[in-house]
């Protein structure tokens, strides 16, 4: 054995996948905090338990969010991580960077922090991993100077994110990047100054493939889709067939609505678009031959979240189709109405989906002014416990 102080972690330098241990060691060369992180982590590997204390509430002036406080429970052993807060930096939409901007981030972080980052956090922020309370404000000042701002944390709007969309994808039915960016800019106050019952997440995917997992991970999911016929290029369809694609087996048979027919004889593909539910499968398999329909917009869904407290939720359709063009007034108005209802009625630590579930979808729809449509449900209710509104009841005096 070596006389390494981190024999367990050293094991994780081996193997073909990039090693986070190497990263920490690299930073540790310059940064005592990174070195103590390594040492504390080794202890965790030995003890099989974390060595951070609970919580921590620190921040920068004028903001209530953007920093996660963290303190070691063994400051005696690891004094350089006694305080080891992370700063959540709002990423540029779509996670696009020019290197000069990235380098600036690195410089700032070398100046103020551990030299370790997460690119990116699973909400999407550029996470600067580990600094002390004293460095928070100066670090923020430098970030701001460099054109960066913090992302969300706490009971705030969290940093919205978007799929790469129109920047690099042929299927984008909406401008996911612009919508996300405009939402981020418009709702700055909500991001920085927590004022909701709990966190609120917005994600934008420009088609139903949902490359940012909007439907699973956001309280409000905006997902591109289209109306009308899928655009078919018959020649390219034949080209796929010629190239050996089994169109019946790989496309038609897997179409969830079985609305496609491939005729081997005359080598044509017929799509009964009225039955298509725009699942994207056929387009995914034959991108060169099929394109989304021309009338484009988004479905809006709400309620998605991880399990705590009532169990995980996938988002629910509340608007089947909304045209989305700048300045996205209809969308932002709707978001405002939704947040207002939630903020007014939600209990502490109650996500939007849980509130709708507790009070009933009908109350939500009425409050935000949306009509009930069958697209909102997999199927109508099976239980007979139906409420009627007072105005629907015959008011004749009951004997």
């Amino acid at each position: 054995m070596t006389d390494s102080k981190t024999p367990l972690l050293d094991e994780l330098e081996k193997g073909p996948w990039p090693s986070f241990v190497k990263e920490i060691k690299q930073a540790a060369e310059k940064k005592p905090a990174a070195a103590d992180l390594l040492n504390q982590l080794e202890l965790s590997y030995k003890d099989r338990i974390g060595h951070w204390k609970h919580g921590g509430i620190v921040g920068v002036k004028g903001y209530g969010s953007g920093v996660i406080g963290r303190y070691s429970d063994r400051p005696d052993l690891f004094p350089n991580v006694q305080a080891f807060h992370t700063m959540r930096v709002n990423h540029p939409t779509g996670w696009f960077y020019k290197t000069d901007a990235l380098r600036k981030l690195c410089d700032i972080w070398d100046k103020h922090g551990s030299g370790l980052t997460n690119l990116h956090g699973s909400t999407g922020d550029a996470i600067l991993l580990g600094t002390t309370t004293e460095h928070l404000q100066p670090c923020f000042d430098d970030l701001s100077e460099a054109g960066f701002d913090l992302g969300g944390s706490g009971s705030a709007l969290r940093t919205p994110s978007a799929c790469v969309g129109p920047a690099r994808c042929e299927w984008a039915c909406i401008d996911s990047l612009d919508i996300c960016y405009q939402a981020t800019m418009t709702l700055q106050d909500q991001i920085h100054r927590p004022m909701f019952p709990y966190k609120f997440k917005i994600k934008v995917s420009a088609c139903a493939n949902d490359c940012v997992s909007a439907i699973a991970r956001s309280d409000l999911a905006i997902m591109g889709t289209w109306k009308g016929r899928i655009q078919v290029d018959p020649a390219e369809v034949r080209a796929y067939a010629d190239a050996g694609l089994d169109i019946r087996g790989e496309v038609c048979d897997l179409c969830p609505t079985k609305c496609m027919e491939w005729s081997e004889a005359d080598r044509t593909l017929v799509i009964h678009d009225g039955d298509c539910n725009r699942c994207m499968h056929c387009l995914n398999v034959m991108p060169k031959a099929l394109r989304p329909g021309k009338e484009r917009g988004a479905s809006i869904l709400v309620g998605g979240k991880a399990p705590i407290v009532q169990g995980s939720l996938l988002s629910w359709v509340i608007v089947p189709f909304m045209k989305l063009e700048p300045p996205y007034t209809e969308l932002f108005d709707l978001i405002a109405r939704i947040q207002d209802w939630w903020d007014e009625n939600g209990r502490s630590r109650e996500r939007l989906g849980e509130l709708i579930n507790r009070l009933g979808m009908r109350h939500f729809l009425k409050a935000v002014g949306l009509p009930a449509v069958p697209q909102m449900v997999k199927h109508p209710r099976t239980n007979p416990y139906v409420f009627f509104w007072p105005e629907e009841i015959d008011k004749k005096e009951v004997k």
């Binding site: 919580g55 509430i57 620190v58 921040g59 406080g69 706490g154 009971s155 100054r193 909701f196």
Partner: protein, 106 residues
Amino acid sequence: MPTIELAGKSYEVDEDGFLQELDKWSEEFAEAYAHVDGIEGPLTEEHWRVINYLRGYYQEFGIAPMVRKVVRETGLDLKRIYELFPSGPGNGACKLAGLAKPTGCV
């Protein structure tokens, strides 16, 4: 646990400066502690409006009120509250009001 000296008394606080013995809170504590959170000068009526509301609510319900409630009940908008308490209602105002450290959602 760190200990902090304010106006001649010593208080146990956590790393973030939150009081660890809630019954030791006093108006003097709040006044003396204000500077720690970047408040310049003595606490104003508006500061006290927030602090008193927080304490009253906490005593009645055992929890800190939600931000919307604070805004509504104190008549101070969020912007003003951040002016009064630069580190915000959770970190700043609750700390001075001697409430348990807000947890949950970070």
